[in-house]
Amino acid sequence: MEANKVGSRRQTTMKFWVILLISTLVGGIGGFFSQMYERSIYETAMNVRDWSISKATYIMAAVSIIILVSALFYYFRSKRLVQEWDQEDEEMFDKIDKTQGIALMITTIGCILTMIVFGLLMANIVNGQLENDIILNMIGIGVFIAVNIALTFLQRRIVDETKKLRPEKQGDALEVNFRKRWVESCDEQERQKIYKAAYKAFNAGNILYMILFIVLVIGQVVFHLGIAPMLVLGIIWLVQILVYQLEAMKI
C-alpha cells in the first residue's frame, strides 16, 4: 500500500514537470512567433479595434435587440407554462424551472455584453471623433442605459414568476440585498446547488486567469499594453483567492 502511494506521488510529480516543460515550450514558441509576426498581428488587431470602435453604437443596438428578444421569448414562454401547470406535474415543473433559469441567464449575460460594448463607445468618445460620431455615441450610451434598465426590470418579472413556482422564496430583484435575502430563503438542497455552482465558477475562473495571463504576456510583446491589464488581472485573481481562502478558514 505504502509503495503504491509513493509510486503515485512520483507519477504526479513527473506529470507536473512534464506540464511545466510543455507550457514553457508553448509559451516560448508563442512568444517567438508573435515577435516574428508582430507587425501583421498588430495591424490586423488595430483594424478590428478601429472598426469595432467606429461601429460601437450599431453593435450596441444589435446586441441589445438580440438580448431583449431572447430574454422576452423565454420569459413569456415560462409565463405560459406556469399558467398551464397543474401544480402537480413534476416534468412540467422542471421545464418551467429551466426556462426561467435561461431567461435569467440571458438578462445577466446581456448586462455584461452591453458593458463591454459601452467600453468601445467610451473609446470612440475619447478618440475625439467628428460631431456626427459624437451624436451617434450619445445614442449608443442612451441605448446602453435603456437596455440595462429594461433588463433589470425584466429580471424582477422573472423572479416574480419564479416565486409562483416557489412561494417560499423571498426578495425583490430591485433590492440592494436581494441575493442575501434570496439565499436565506433557500433550503439545504438549493444552497448546496448554489455552493456547487459557485465552486465550479471559482475553478473556471482560475483556469481563465491563467489563460489571460499568457495572452497578456504575448499581448505585451505585440501591442505594448502597459501594466494596467496585468494589474487588473492580478487584483481580480487575488481578491477571488483571498475571499475563498479566508471563507474556507472560517469553516
Binding site: 401544480q87 415543473f93 424551472d97 416557489r166 412561494p167 417560499e168 433557500c186 433550503d187 439545504e188 438542497q189
Partner: protein, 73 residues
C-alpha cells in the same frame, strides 16, 4: 451516497402534496421531489423532521443500502 426511501408512500398516506410537506418541514417542493426520486439525500435534520411529521421513524422512510446489502431488515 445510496439512500432509498419510501417518502412518496408516506406522503400519500398523510394526504399531502409535495408543496404541503415541504412547507411543514421547511423545504422546497423541488427538494421533496428530488428526495422522492432519489436524486438528493437529505441532511439528518431534514430526515428527522420528515419522519416526525409523518409520525414514523426515520428508518421507516429512509434506507441505506450498500453493495446490495439491505441494512434495515
Amino acid at each position: 451516497m445510496p439512500l432509498k426511501n419510501r417518502l412518496k408512500e408516506h406522503r400519500a398516506r398523510m394526504g399531502w402534496n409535495q408543496q404541503e410537506l415541504g412547507t411543514l418541514v421547511g423545504a422546497s417542493r423541488q427538494t421533496i421531489s428530488l428526495i422522492e426520486r432519489g436524486d438528493y439525500s437529505p441532511s439528518v435534520t431534514l430526515a428527522l423532521k420528515i419522519a416526525d411529521r409523518c409520525g414514523v421513524k426515520v428508518e421507516d422512510i429512509f434506507m441505506y443500502e450498500e453493495d446490495g446489502i439491505d441494512g434495515g431488515e
